[in-house]
Symmetry: C2
Subunit: 217 residues, 2 copies
């Protein structure tokens, strides 16, 4: 968190408002280096946050018809493009890592202050507010954004024949609990997720049965 | 181009329209494996198309105020999220690689047929039309999308102290020609690009002077 900004290595020859915006846009390059727990479907390596965020940004317009409440597609895409930026300083918190999940909120709030603070004040407020909206899951757009955020890594797990579903302590019931946000935004996508979990259980890609004591929702 | 689809390795237990959409969303995972010529600012490795597309999707709302014509930000983000999908089968064509640029249109049109054809017909048309809009650069949204598409790798080149500006045959004038789309959408961003090119020339990160015979616009 105290590391120098990328632009401090090479100060931009552009000042003012645009200079602040370009410094922010250079700093966010770091999102491409934040590794997630999931592996790609296309090749055997872990996904990073920038790739994941792009994937969600495409899932939103393709799957928007399944949202149970009408959503503004453009706004929902903005939410997913921004939703993981705080992980540049706070790191990724895997869906099935309970230890890291305890400190997540505090780490991410500090990261948001630093990162969005690089922008001019009006945009710092605007982007912070997009992130807050995503996290709060009160608007239909935020609920749908969170649903695809949960669907994508679990679709990759299914393609990988297990992936992070093989984390010790995780059972099919843990996966059902952690993916419940999908059905809260879309009955159809929630149904698809249930089908994938059942299929994975039958194939031995996730342990069947009760959620373990180690894995609270 | 004739390689099996990713879902052919592991057929989805979900059919119908949603099955087609999920097969498309799995296949596009390949965009994360298409390497570009540019290197990241954050670490020493080449960028891939998914990371690049995400970066553009964030640049659009941050820089939209500089568009010389009013743009629909949500629609412009959709254009950049979709704009490189055809490279899944057609490969990346680096901005300063003239040999590859000759066959680019044909390769990409064939790729679009195959990839968008995975979607249900109405969405195949919708996404193909987004890609066509981006390529044609007739709407203000497409012009702005192309501008940030040109700005991003050249900003990374500036951060790298040269990057692909060091391609044999490329001079500062080549870079000016290849980045002219930026100023056509935004005088302010065109001005910023000119400042970066002048700075790079002074620093010896790009060869000054006339464009070489090997590098047509």
């Amino acid at each position: 968190m105290d590391e120098p900004l990328l632009v401090e290595r090479r100060p931009l020859p552009i000042g003012g408002r645009l200079g602040q915006q370009l410094a922010f846009l250079i700093e966010v390059d770091r999102l491409k280096t934040v590794l997630r727990a999931s592996t790609l479907a296309a090749v055997e390596r872990r996904e990073n946050d920038a790739e994941h965020s792009w994937h969600l940004a495409l899932m939103v317009p393709v799957l928007a018809e399944y949202a149970d409440e009408p959503i503004d597609v453009g706004h929902t895409i903005k939410l997913v493009v921004v939703h993981d930026l705080v992980e540049i300083y706070a790191g990724d918190t895997p869906l099935y890592d309970d230890a890291l999940r305890v400190s997540q909120a505090q780490r991410e709030a500090e990261a948001a202050e630093r990162l969005f603070g690089l922008l001019p004040d009006d945009q710092a407020r605007e982007f912070r507010s997009l992130w807050d909206e995503f996290e709060a899951r009160v608007t239909p757009e935020a609920r749908f954004a969170k649903a695809v955020d949960r669907l994508e890594p679990n679709l990759l797990n299914w393609m990988a024949g297990g992936g992070t579903w093989r984390t010790p302590g995780v059972t099919a019931d843990t996966v059902r609990t952690r993916t419940a946000h999908i059905g809260e935004a879309s009955a159809a996508l929630g149904g698809a997720m249930a089908t994938l979990i059942d299929d994975a259980t039958r194939n031995g890609w996730v342990v069947p049965g009760q959620q373990s004591a180690a894995g609270p929702a």
